[in-house]
Subunit: 125 residues, 2 copies
Amino acid sequence: MAAAGPIPILKIGSTLLATIQIELVDTVVDAFQGDVLEGIETHGASGLIVDISALETVDSYVARMLANTAKMAKLMGTQTVIVGMRPAVAATLVRMGYFMDGINTALSLEEGLDLLGEARTPEAE
Amino acid sequence: MAAAGPIPILKIGSTLLATIQIELVDTVVDAFQGDVLEGIETHGASGLIVDISALETVDSYVARMLANTAKMAKLMGTQTVIVGMRPAVAATLVRMGYFMDGINTALSLEEGLDLLGEARTPEAE
């Protein structure tokens, strides 16, 4: 259960940005979920962006984790946007019958921030 | 099964604030629901905030009570926001398949008040 390099979580205004840059093995996935939720609590983040543009593949376990993390964040009062999904990943998820209902998505980080209203309310922190 | 201390219900403007500070046993849960609904009627509250930040765990009974209380308040014309859900609680609820659909949530009391529009209409009472 070694942490195979944590996923960096940055803060932009009142939004947390998690950029997944490594292929996700199960232990990293579980740690990621906990880290993100604790980050939300610690920073009082009103938005969460998960950038998956580096991922060439997303299996059903990871897809479910992403969807569940978004639901957990929602219960805590935080909106989640998944950004940068590659065409092949989107195609695979839909073919698996996994539509990520109720999950916000955006093409890019910029549009994700825009969706969360972060761009319109620049905060000095 | 003695009443283990009632849950305090405060009034902020036209919003009722219930802060759950004790672990909830079933009798307290049932009394709480009645107290909150009566409080809404008595004070003509347009909003209800339930602060659960002190709860380390929420079982399915309590989760259902919270969701049902919100639905009952809704029928009476009052919006409910559940604030301060801890990461572990959110994780457990989602893993149980309990998403609290249609329930408003916010990170903090402040954001909950903001969501209810209370912050924008300070009332002297």
